[in-house]
Symmetry: C2
Subunit: 225 residues, 2 copies
């Protein structure tokens, strides 16, 4: 059984990559694992604030500035500079979640067009897929940088559709409900990856469908198209 080929845009940070090494890094420098969530939420908060004012946001700049702000004044096992560097280094060396490689392989085998679409630089996705020896399975890797404000602003998705000459059905795959919301606003279909049995927040548009792993997407598409 084969499904109609569609275009799929994958969010990158946390959707494909596993953020736990960043939590490990916060723990190792003495700040504690919990601080990783506060830091990552603050990076998105500030990027979205700039998006809401049609401003330009550079993911890694905000990540660095906010790591410094989060760590300042804490009792750390290294200097503030070294600690910030350790967080950024961990962020730049995250692995793919275990379910990503089998999922990407089956979606590629089914003939779907696969892209990444990140608020961060394309270098992150390039490294992730090169390390996992999966680069050849992607049609392309996209960042909003240099093109539009961040997701979840509508233009980020519309520009990605245009840049990839997507004429048919397009899906956005993400773990973040705010990404599902923005893609829905832009007219895309959406797939929410819910690895942790979370509840979907009522304040955002719901996804077209949900999965518990990237590997479960292909069979869902077969049923639907």
């Amino acid at each position: 059984m084969s499904s109609t080929a569609v275009t799929i845009f994958f969010d990158v940070n946390e959707t494909l990559s596993d953020l736990s090494p960043v939590a490990d890094a916060f723990d190792k420098i003495g700040a504690g694992r919990e601080v990783a969530s506060a830091w990552f939420a603050s990076v998105l908060r500030d990027g979205f604030a700039l998006t809401a004012t049609n401003g330009t946001a550079h993911f890694l700049d905000i990540a660095q500035t906010n790591a410094r702000d989060t760590l300042r004044g804490r009792s750390l096992t290294a200097s503030l500079d070294e600690s910030v560097d350790a967080i950024l280094a961990a962020f730049s060396s995250m692995p793919l979640h275990d379910d990503v490689a089998p999922g990407i392989r089956s979606l590629h085998a089914a003939g779907h067009r696969l892209f990444t679409l990140s608020n961060g630089p394309t270098t992150t996705a390039e490294r992730l897929f090169a390390t996992a020896e999966l680069s050849g399975l992607l049609t392309g890797m996209l960042s909003v940088e240099g093109h539009t404000p961040w997701k979840p602003g509508r233009t980020a998705y519309l520009d990605a559709v245009e840049r990839t000459n997507t004429g048919g059905i397009a899906y956005l795959v993400a773990v973040h409900p705010w990404d599902i919301h923005g893609a829905t606003e832009a007219g895309l279909s959406t797939i929410w990856v819910n690895r942790a049995a979370a509840a979907y927040p009522e304040h955002f548009h719901p996804p077209t469908f949900s999965v518990t792993s990237i590997g479960a997407i292909d069979s869902q598409l077969v049923q639907r198209h």
Copy 2:
């Protein structure tokens, strides 16, 4: 020495109110104080995501949903429902920072028009000022709810200026750099309250001037107007 009367809009949460009882509440239910920052950043993150897509966001709804999401799966000293209620109760009973009352009194005595302008409901500011017996010193208390998307969207500030018939100089006072950024985009002057000797992030427009307490604003205005 008297200064020219200006209009001043005060952000509410964290700028006027002290969030530490919320951190105490997270600690008391067994989640730990650090989780308070992650939770509050996630509330702003989601509200800004809705703002970036011109959507409507209700502060207390997002606060409740995200408290539940943040606490789910943790080892807590009470049920999930009771824990979420405890966080919201703490959020609804925050006191003013110690420097607010003397600052508000001196600015009122100098003849300035004083408003609150919050992404949350006006009831929060009303309670804060009633408890401190300062309500009579404010010209009005404003929320974006029912009017515009959240700050830092430009329309939130422009609508506040219009609703208060502000013709002359208008300042936005906030601890949050994203608020300073949005107000600047809307053409207001800005005052950054930096109680914790933080560094101002380069990714946002800088404030017109900074103070370490609300009490220090009046003398700065005397010098400038």
